[in-house]
Every structure is written in C-alpha cells, then in structure tokens.
Symmetry: C2
Subunit: 155 residues, 2 copies
DNA sequence: TTTTGATTGTTATGATCATAACGATTGGCA
DNA sequence: TGCCAATCGTTATGATCATAACAATCAAAA
C-alpha cells in the first residue's frame, strides 16, 4: 500500500512518488482528444474529412487567401504536415494554390467554390459536435475547461 | 461585423452561429496534447521513447504480464496500434512476449529486466513533466482540469 | 553590390492513429 | 459432439504528427 507521507514512520524509507498513468495529463489529453475527434468523424465522416482537414478549411474560410506556412501556424501544424493536408484537399478540389507574385517563396492557399460551400455546410455541424463532446458539462464548467486548456496550450 | 443577437433589427436575418476554431474543444485538446507531449519528449527524448511508448511501459510495470489486447485497452490503443508499439519496444529489448499456454489466442507481454530498470528510472521524470505542463495552474485548477478531462474521456 | 541570415517550402524517415477485412482460437450451446 | 459467436491478433490502407536536412527566395547589412 503506497504512502505519500508518513509521520514518525521509518524515517530512512525513501518515499516513491506515486505514479499512476491516469494522473499524467498527457494521457488524459490524448484520450479526451480521441473522444472529441471521434465525435467529429462520426458526424462529418461521410464527407471523408478528418478533424485536422476541417480545421484547415475553416481557417482558410475565416482568413481568406493566405500562405501555406502561415496557415500551418494558424492550425498548429508543422510545415511538412500542413503541406500534406493541403495536397489532399487540393486533390479533392476543395482548395487551390498559386505562387505569390510578390514573394516567390510563398504558396497562397484559398478555397475553391465547392470548398467554400462545403465549409459553410459543415460549420454548424462542428458546432454541434463540440456541444456533444461537452454535453456532460454545465456552462461554468465549459468556461473553466476552455480557460485551463487555453493556458496549457499557450504556455 | 458579426452579431449573435439583435433586437428589432432585420427580423428575417438568419443568425449564423458564430464559429471560431479556437472555440472547438477538439482543436484546444489537440494543441494542449501537443504541448504535454513535447514537454515529455524534451525530457525523455534522449532515451528515444515517445509518450505512447512510455505509457505502454508504465502500464506493464504497473500490471505485470498481461495480454497484448488488454494492454492496448489499458493505454487506449487499437489492436493494430498496440501491436506496432510492442514490436518497437521488443526490438529494443525493453519488452518480451510469449504465447499464453492456456489460450492460444493471447500474446503475453512483459518487461525485460532492462525494461523494468528503465521504467523505474523514468517514472519520476514523467511526474516532473506533468508538473511542468501544469505549472501555470494552482492546486484547485489542476483538480478541476483532471475531473473535467476525465469526464470528457469517459463519456 | 555582395554577402549573410531568415523565411518558406520540400524531402525523407519514423512513429501514431483509425478502420476494415481476415484467419485462428476459444468457449458456450444445441 | 458439432456448430457458432466472440475474442485476439494480423495485414493493409491512408491520415496525422515531429524532426532533420536541404534548396530557393527574400531582406537587410556590410
């Protein structure tokens, strides 16, 4: 039986800090993300869109044409990763790219008409998915969770 | 300028629910997990161990010999995924496997001596990593975060 | 003007993930 | 005993991830 603190017990005993996988925040975050992600795929999976793909589309929809690199930063993906996502979306004609005439390094990414219409259709659905994922929490708990997660992510 | 509620304004205007990627809990969870994971790799990366690999080792350390399938469930991995992780750990002689003599379907997984010693060495380090990830939160906030994440993951 | 450093994107490698289809084994049940 | 559903593990496919090394482009400084 593990003890984390004792008084007057064997003084020389080295107290191992209790380790439980369930207490590691990374493990909890991975499982919670699994849940959120599967909720989303459950609803928009028929469109063959993954959560990162949808996040990418939503960001372009919000910002308009922008460089692939900036897009990656805005959806928290490394350059190598956002490149692959853009390629897949491009193959499906949801997104199109062009070189920036003013800066030969940049690849400008924008939504195609069908990409725009798909995003518009799915935005409300993702809002519902988020609601479903948070269904067990009241308004105050949701607000707290957002604040705490935000602090973790931005730290 | 988006408005979520108006009074006496154009009554027929359909009010688009405001969508912001930052408000989608899946996006927040992904970013928070990125942070937690990179904190861990920062500390135990020299051992060439990833977060899921370490979770797997820790679970075997806690439970002792167990079947690959059960191990997967206990670390939230699909059978196909835990298989790959076990193969990699096996290749590095941190883990060993044997067929269950009583049930020919099962593959029993256990730690090797060097696996055991590595886990023992790294357990306190992961506890430190979790503390670092949560550094910006006070005790009450930590407790709340755990409870809310747990409810999300188990829902 | 030339050089130097920073930024952008690509390539390569390897690990995580989910899903579906499949064979082998087991255990219960007719 | 013989069948049958459930369980376990594997294979295959495709998408996410991080990291490192690299070329091209740009910008600022010498």
């Amino acid at each position: 039986m593990p003890r984390t603190s004792t008084k007057g017990a064997a003084a020389a005993a080295r107290v191992e800090p209790a380790y439980r996988l369930e207490d590691q925040v990374g493990f909890l975050l991975r499982r919670a993300y699994q849940r959120a992600s599967s909720n989303l795929v459950e609803r928009i999976g028929q469109y063959d869109l993954t959560a990162p793909q949808f996040a990418t589309l939503a960001r372009i929809h919000e910002r308009g044409t922008l460089s692939q690199n900036l897009l990656g930063r805005l959806v928290a993906m490394e350059p190598a990763n956002i490149r692959d996502v853009v390629l897949r979306l491009k193959k499906r004609r949801l997104v199109m790219t062009q070189r920036d005439p003013d800066d030969g390094r940049l690849i400008l990414v924008s939504l195609t008409p069908s990409g725009t219409s798909l995003v518009s259709e799915l935005l409300p659905i993702e809002i519902e998915c988020t609601a479903k994922t948070l269904a067990g929490l009241n308004a105050n708990e949701k607000r707290l969770l957002y604040e705490l997660l935000g602090r973790l992510a931005d730290s």
